[in-house]
């Protein structure tokens, strides 16, 4: 069980809503993933339309919605999107996402921290997407974020845990949940992240852009569960040398 901002989640797999071929497939996929926290880009909601097909599908699912500020290039734009989501969706949850860099969609650490401080002060439950920078994660934590969401690799790149060593440091130092967000491309990457001790992973592209999103969601759900179980069971320490299970000097031990 994962507790995030006084809310308990039995699944440690968070999912997204972009890149699907249609809203119905999105809903079936989320259901198959078992995810209970689902992120949704505010810019995809048509505020002029009476009903939004994606939102309608999501609201029929037993999930907590995590509106995101994707598309914002500055703190002010992100704050604007967050306020809009609070009005429209009646939620305090927000995934803070600020990436002025349009090629790799890498987060702007300065604008992210600025926006986080402002949104926390306004009573939002802030989950910031950020670089895998241990110091920045501590600063975001100090700013009052409910979790930190360092990237494994650039959004949509499927390159896995390029930031593994830094994620380990963040996990070691964090006193809020750590969610690896972005870049995870394979269930084995998700399992590896969970084995490091992260609290959850957020997966969108690897599931939504696959040939069979429903089956892929199930595969990720299993991997996340296995990785977490392995972490909790206590993984063995790796070593450069063989460690005999029956040491040659065992005879010296007193009987």
């Amino acid at each position: 069980m994962l507790t995030l901002a006084q809310t308990t989640f039995s699944s440690r797999l968070f999912t997204g809503t972009g890149k699907f071929a249609n809203p119905q497939l999105m809903a079936r996929t989320i259901a198959a993933s078992g995810s209970e926290l689902v992120t949704l880009a505010m810019k995809r909601l048509d505020l002029r339309s009476a009903s939004d097909a994606t939102l309608a599908q999501l609201q029929a699912l037993p999930v907590t919605l995590l509106p995101n500020t994707s598309g914002a290039r500055t703190a002010d734009e992100a704050v604007y999107a967050a306020r809009l989501s609070r009005e429209l969706l009646e939620t305090r949850w927000v995934k803070l996402e600020i990436h002025p860099d349009q090629r790799y969609l890498l987060p702007d650490p300065i604008e992210t921290l600025r926006a986080a401080e402002k949104l926390v002060a306004e009573g939002f439950i802030v989950l910031p997407y950020c670089s895998a920078d241990p110091v920045l994660c501590k600063r975001l934590e100090e700013a009052g974020c409910a979790a930190v969401m360092p990237l494994g690799a650039p959004i949509g790149s499927n390159r896995g845990l390029l930031t593994r060593d830094f994620i380990s440091m963040i996990v070691e130092q964090a006193s809020v949940p750590v969610v690896v967000d972005a870049g995870i491309g394979k269930p084995s990457d998700a399992a590896a992240a969970m084995e490091l001790g992260v609290d959850a992973v957020l997966i969108n592209s690897a599931i939504a852009a696959s040939a069979n999103p429903v089956a892929m969601a199930e595969a990720f759900a299993s991997a996340v569960q296995a990785g977490r179980q392995a972490y909790e069971a206590g993984l063995g320490v790796s070593s450069q040398q063989a460690q005999a299970s029956s040491p040659l000097t065992a005879f010296l031990e007193p009987l």
Binding site: K43, E77, L84, P100, G156
Partner: protein, 372 residues
Amino acid sequence: MTPVADALNNQDQDDLRLSIYSKKAMDVVSALQADKPGLHDFMALVSPAAEPFIESMAQRAASLTRRHFGHTMQMFVPLYLSNLCANECTYCGFTMSNRIKRKVLSSDEIEAEALAIRQMGFNSVLLVTGEHETKVGLEYLIAAVRLLKPYFSHLMLEVQPMSESDYAQLIRAGVDGVLVYQETYHRRTYADYHLRGSKQDFDWRLQTGDRLGRNGMAKIGVGALLGLSDWRVDSTMTALHARILQQTYWRSRYSVAFPRLRPCAGSVHEQQQMLSDKQLVQLICAHRIMHPQVELSLSTRESPHFRDHVSQLGITSMSAASQTQPGGYASANGALEQFSTEDNRPASQVAAALLDKGIEPVWHDWLHGFSG
């Protein structure tokens, strides 16, 4: 300071041409395997040597598109505000000497168009005019943008190149993107086609990206009019243009379009440089392989059959149900159009065709207040 235009002007296009036409199969194989393809890889992919590799290119392009954009297609529609033009260009139906009926939409007519477009489901609109600074200049465009902003969440312009301060005002009024196509990057050929008017100023047009980038325009569109000059060289220059813009003005998003010359009233252009459907697919795939994250856009100049198929290969933004004449949505009148379109299906039919291919048409992906 125009670093992007300067870099483009420093390119020796004769050298580029020689390099493109001397590419071998092994260069294409190497380009297809490159982790981060560069300009030489792009040249290999648009070279004659790449023609036998079209399927491999399509597979890679399709896979990159799915990874970065998923199973989606952004939908937009052009809204022609005016067909007035103060230029003489030998390939365009709006050319000054062409005896067609001229029209500039009034506020009421713009609103009528907006209502008709909203009914089709569009939220992203490209405002298009001929190039006439005095009658359809900054003041007119700002008024049109302010009028249209309540109807649409995403507004782009395809009008004459403007000054930096003009763009700053247009951004404040609510413009989210500007598309300015160089037509051809070959200076001498450009002069052959543009016979009168301010459009003759090749450099002013080429420097538009710098003026937009310095202003932080959210989206900047580039492209060449395919058919005016050697498409392989012009497209290499387009790819380079997009690449240098990305490096220099990294906060902006970029789109590349593939307009092929179409028949139009009064055209004197002989289409000797036209590229075939297969070559256009080759070009789309080459762009996708070089720029995995860049928006690639296709208009209704192309046939339904062609559009339905390339929607899976690399195109991520598409117009539909386009009228290329001012007032065409509220009351069609073919006599005013810039060129004739090839895909005349209603928007709902284009959307259904996309859904059949497993692609979701995205009508809304922009938040009023920022343009991501």
